[in-house]
Symmetry: C2
Subunit: 230 residues, 2 copies
């Protein structure tokens, strides 16, 4: 597993992280969110997930199928799931037309702190780690784009689940499992498909033994699958 | 236009960039490539495009439609176009199974230099710029993922072209145009579609006045379109 969380927690002196949490509490720059609560983010700030997980979502406002009389694409509020930010990881939201990015607490009791980029100058070593985390996230998104370039929806689906579980999965009896649920609608929104199609194709993948589910609808990839052959 | 090239060239003292080129020549760490030549990249190195443009490509090796008798997905060499890296911009290639990333010279006379990350410690200000460039690229890829989450292929296509031209387009009589050609097969590989479908849908977008082409098959977005309403 390429878990940034564990890597960076291993590399990061515990004291720095504790000092940053103390700093954010002193400056009232930490807050806890309920499941699916929207995070009020602003460009220019860097956010750090202290506990829980954040869900990134993008909204397209470009649409080719608007009113034919007008050249201007109409507003379409289709939201795409863009990934998670786990504990210990940074994120930032830079609003850019014609697409906007948003973030939500994916699980209950998700705690997030924030600072200006120049605040990070107080902890130069940590600043470097944050930037390295963005490099890592960028590489992961390139892999994600690779799978979304596949023509067949079932290939995109399997590639997407593989990447997600590779990054966030935790070992279990079933193999590696996501530690939090993801709805079929959310999966569909990530791979350019619908909830109905995702449900049907997940059935196929399950039949072929390529994925499985555990307990409260947690997605797993068996240990004898692609993941563990790498 | 959100051109990183011009931003970073404006922000970067010309002398630093010249010193880096001199350094790479002294150390034989600069090379010029012909159009579509593959760049021999290695993880752990950071690459900088001095001139021309680099095309990033990803190959999926996960495939759900393999031999049903086996649980193991078979190898499928589907290549997806993942974007450009323009002059003045950095990139890195970190190989990661089950997807691999590759880079090609997109135009003739593309010149690329490379260094280890620790070499960048010689130019701390420039190091910071490189890391900021990756932050920027990461944000762009999130927007790109937003459009690939759209269900209709024509929406993905228009969103993709809009983002690409927004980032790399240059002003012209037609509006904003990509400075280098991109084939319909390459576009299809980025948005999970085929060359044939892309050709058909591009015809529709052209009819609706949402895109146009200039001279040697260069893609343009008219100035009264979404781009310039932002």
């Amino acid at each position: 597993m390429y878990s940034l969380t564990s890597n960076s927690e291993a590399a990061r002196p515990f004291l720095t992280w504790q000092r940053i949490i103390d700093w954010s509490q002193e400056h009232y720059r930490i807050r806890t969110f309920a499941k699916d609560e929207k995070l009020p983010t602003r460009p220019g700030l860097v956010y750090l997930v202290q506990r829980g997980a954040v869900r990134l979502v993008g909204s397209a406002q470009v649409n080719a199928t608007g009113n034919n009389a007008s050249r201007l694409p109409r507003i379409s509020p289709e939201e795409a799931f863009l990934g998670f930010v786990g504990a210990g990881q940074p994120f930032e939201i830079v609003a850019q037309s014609p697409f906007t990015l948003q973030s939500y607490a994916h699980v209950d009791q998700t705690s997030v702190l924030w600072m200006y980029w120049h605040d990070l100058d107080n902890w130069p070593h940590f600043r470097r780690e944050v930037l390295d985390a963005f490099r890592y996230q960028h590489q992961r998104k390139l892999l994600w784009l690779s799978t979304l370039g596949q023509r067949r929806t079932i290939d995109r689906l399997l590639g997407f689940l593989t990447l997600l579980i590779e990054e966030y999965g935790e070992p279990s009896e079933q193999g590696y499992c996501l530690p939090f649920p993801l709805t079929h609608a959310q999966i569909g929104s990530a791979i350019g498909s619908t909830r109905v199609t995702v449900t049907r194709l997940m059935g196929k993948l399950r039949q072929r033994g390529m994925i499985s589910t555990q307990g409260d609808n947690l997605l797993c990839i068996p240990t004898d699958s692609t993941l563990t052959r790498t």
